[in-house]
Symmetry: C2
Subunit: 582 residues, 2 copies
């Protein structure tokens, strides 16, 4: 027993009690005749005091030899502080130390263990075990734990059972790239790490488990963009005998439950919009609806007025940015540069100031009268003080560019409030998307997603128009979950594989077990998976996923703390009957 209490719990109720605490030396203040030590553990900080009058002399010496992050054990009496600290729960007391033991020494840490540290990201990753001692990092992991517990509680109460699916599975070339694991006992053969437990959860529905979930690690060997991890965590769910509405209801319920339990926020009903509407209104299938600035199409108002740049384009579309009439000409020029960056690639925009006196001033005044601009403003519901921004071009590209601008302006205007939560469902996704590179159809969600029954007839004639029973949950501009009603009919599944360019032999080889299972009484089923890392980050008002992972990897897929991956012993390669290429 190294302690009677933690460093976060003592207060005036414990006055005069003899206690033992253990923890790390956070701060030492030496006044010569008196030494204070801030002792820190997971639960808080408690002040220790040693002075000439009341303490043994040797204690002062011991204390003087302590360094930051030394691990110590202190025994003493809880006394009332002379000068109280109202900012911490233990701020009214301190411990008059009678015994002090050094449990372990510490080298000076490479960065300060404070809420605001002086360590750069790379250094903190290398010493992640020290970074974990900092409140912002530790609290994020505790928050993640809490969310996981609440998710499990909600789903268990709803009759879901958590089933562990295997990690060593079979490689399938569809989707992203698999990590593979050579099998020593089956030389020349490989396991793959799951990109998701998709086929297993469908097999469990065939197996009658009815309601399944799992908080589970998944793996993708992809070139890592910022904040993409090779291993990530999903809340994976599947239900039998359900239609889309049943799935939406359960998981809308789950998200409401989390917002209520965690933030005390009650949300009545999540709005729903179709994929098509989301693209038209926000240029984005995961719109942030904490703020407006919706798109308004202006083809009928802006074309055929002699402004050639608009006339010949597929789409003229604009947003009205609140209060941005305050932008100077220079500010606007910089905004123009911003959207012309290669990452966004827009050609430019037309701006229209909505002045306080009700007049308009536009960069295309030559072509548009005050009445024209008033019509724009009416369409966009622009208010005095707004800046209207209008772009034109090919519909898809322009929407994408304007969406990027919308998000950027929302950031600048601080409309993306971290403590506001605006969930919605995006439904009716297209089943397929055409891939220019491979010149074939790809499944927009995955190959097991069912088309809407009323669109099945178009599968042969017009696949691009077929809508799927697929849905995403979007929270604050992030897709936090997505799912679909699955195909449960062998014939329809075969047809899908064919459409996706699989030969019957390839389909059989890769998904034969699933097709086979579908012959033995597969029930209608569907489900959804949440990106758990992202969900946790967003619920905590952040978008930095990496902070919510205890031991993340960097952008090269490396764990810089343990130095993995790393070369392995040649004898290991021999046992696996593989060799490295030169």
């Amino acid at each position: 027993m190294f302690r009677t209490h933690t460093c976060g719990e003592l207060n005036l109720n414990h006055l005069n009690q003899k206690v033992t605490l253990s923890g790390w030396v956070s701060v030492i203040r030496d006044k010569g005749f008196m030494i204070w030590i801030d002792l820190r553990d997971r639960y808080g900080i408690t002040q220790l005091i040693i002075d000439e009058e009341r303490s043994d002399k040797s204690l002062l010496e011991t204390a003087r030899n302590l360094g930051r992050e030394f691990v110590i054990q202190a025994t003493g009496t809880v006394i009332e502080r002379a000068s109280k600290n109202p900012n911490i729960p233990t701020g009214e007391i301190e411990i008059l130390v009678e015994n002090l033991e050094i449990l372990n020494e510490s080298k000076l840490p490479p960065f300060t263990i404070e809420d605001k540290t002086d360590g750069g990201e790379e250094l903190r990753m290398q010493y992640r075990y020290l970074d974990l001692r900092r409140n912002p990092v530790k609290n994020k992991l505790i928050f993640r734990h809490k969310v996981a517990q609440e998710v499990r509680k909600y789903l268990s109460d709803k009759g879901f059972i958590e089933v562990e699916t295997p990690v060593l599975i079979k490689s399938t070339p569809e989707g992203a790239r698999d990590f593979v694991v050579p099998s020593r006992m089956n030389p020349g053969e490989f396991y793959a790490l799951p990109q998701s437990p998709q086929t297993f959860k469908q097999l469990m529905m065939v197996g009658g488990l009815d309601k399944y979930f799992q908080i589970v690690k998944c793996f993708r060997d992809e070139d890592l963009r910022a904040d993409r991890q090779p291993e990530f965590t999903q809340i994976d769910c599947e239900m039998a005998f359900v239609e889309q509405e049943d799935v939406l209801e359960i998981f809308e319920g789950m998200t409401k439950y989390l917002l209520k339990e965690i933030h005390g926020i009650e949300i009545e009903k999540f709005p729903r919009i179709t994929y098509e509407e989301a693209m038209r209104k926000y240029g984005n299938d995961k719109p942030d609806i904490r703020f407006g600035m919706e798109f308004h199409e202006l083809n009928d108002l802006a074309q055929n007025k002699g402004f050639e740049i608009f006339d010949k384009e597929e789409l003229v579309v604009g947003i009205s940015a609140p209060t941005l009439n305050s932008y100077t000409r220079k500010d606007i020029d910089r905004l123009l540069e911003w959207i012309q960056r290669p990452q966004i690639g827009a050609r430019g925009f037309v701006w229209v100031r909505v002045n306080e006196d009700g007049s308009f001033k536009s960069s295309a005044d030559k072509f548009y009268s005050q009445e024209d601009l008033a019509a724009f403003a009416e369409r966009m519901n622009a208010q005095k003080g707004d800046l209207m921004i209008i772009m034109a071009g090919k519909a898809n590209d322009t929407r994408k560019q304007l969406s990027a601008l919308r998000m950027e302006l929302a950031e600048r205007l601080e409309l993306r409030k971290p403590d506001e939560f605006a969930p919605l469902w995006v439904v009716d996704f297209p089943l397929l998307e055409w891939d220019e590179e491979t010149n074939r159809w790809h499944a927009m969600h995955h190959p097991f997603t069912s088309p809407k029954p009323e669109d099945i007839s178009k599968l042969k004639t017009n696949p691009g128009e077929v809508r799927a029973n697929a849905y995403d949950m979007v929270l604050n501009g992030n897709e936090i979950g997505g799912g679909s009603i699955r195909i449960h009919d062998k014939e329809l599944q075969s047809q899908m594989f064919e459409l996706l360019g699989f030969t019957p032999e390839q389909a059989e080889e890769q998904f034969g077990f699933l097709m086979n299972a579908f012959q033995y009484g597969a029930p209608p089923h569907g489900g959804l998976a949440f990106g758990f890392d992202r969900l946790v980050a967003i619920l905590d008002g952040s978008e930095t996923i990496r902070d919510y992972i205890a031991f993340p990897k960097n952008n090269s897929g490396r764990d810089v703390m343990i130095d993995a991956p790393s070369p392995i012993d040649p004898s290991q390669l021999d046992e696996l009957e593989i060799s490295l290429k030169q």
Copy 2:
């Protein structure tokens, strides 16, 4: 909405309600004028009835075309059954069907979906998704879910936080063989899958997380013995600022909590015995104490009586098997053959019958008088009707053989009751064991286990005698958990690595990050890991771990359902810059 109720919930309270059920056709009984269907889902079975008088004619035809395991949806009215079935919760009612829809057809399954099936293990594994529909299989997975939930509840309530540790880590040759994962982004380098999150949990203690747990997949590329899986699940736990007693208390509490919640069994306090005592008393470091038959050493009573077979041996030791005086001479001969099998390899034993009249009859009557045998009986506390069995030989071997016999006899005498739970702690394990093959010391638990402080001085002089701060929790003859207080001092850890045959360079290369971490204020810490698959099986009164895994692999590490591992595309190998050896 495919159903208004499940197949497990309707009873007389629902009389005359119109309901819709969905599920699988379990049994059809066709009386010509009347057809009954047992409709099954995860929650139970409900009887459907269709008859000439009350039902539409077309329904009888539809019903007649149903096959076993067809998925159907039936709408009808809840009515009282003429002949009730008291064995199922829905046995008092049936559904008079008004509408019947086939949701999916089914081929005839390769084995019957009944509690007692006609399918062999291999077939059931191949069609695991059908096996899951059977109650015994499904219920085991639900049981596992329940145990996991209770474990999480208990540990969370005690202040533990569940933290996910990485699956793609670094290969270390100590311990069992790692599965490795070639890194495409870092050619020539490999990740390893964790055999346990050991080093991460220690780093979290250095990081001040104080109390950590995780229910986590672990991996070992070992030649599979019966009931060993290449991937398995641990309850992994670690605590800072603890001594052995603190760890035992928390996890004894957890196991008590599980026994109470799951079986309503209350256990006061777990017995504790040292490793040495366990070996002396049971010949086994995981003794089953649901029954007696403890070992009694007889050297002083049995040697120097002219019986040479005993005289020259290191150990003479016996057990008294209750009621086994009923064994005929033939039975005893067969028992002899049993222990002489190569798996056990004993030479033989001496038996002594304890007759009802108080007399003894022994296979060594020539050497032992009735008084001698009475002394044996007294030592062993043998009762009338017992059969004493005495073996001799080298101490370790003989104890092992007698332990196997003790377990075998307990099985035969049905003393290993599946609904009785007898946990205990085995403590004070040796720190090291000598490995004849490699001619060096191995860590009995693992290289991070701390020696008992009072034994540290023997590390250099007599390593074999050093005891560890290591402990196992044993339940019904199975080690369900094991752990230790860890080394938190860099110097001591270096000394351990040296003792285990690591060069300083090897230690640095493989565990440098841990050694480094120990320099920055590592607190005293320790923990424990439970084998979750085994814990669940034993709590459910079984020892067959595989039954508690949703998708287990066979003894060659194959998933015969999805057919993994399997060859991968040569382009995948190219991307990974590895090739197969011929």
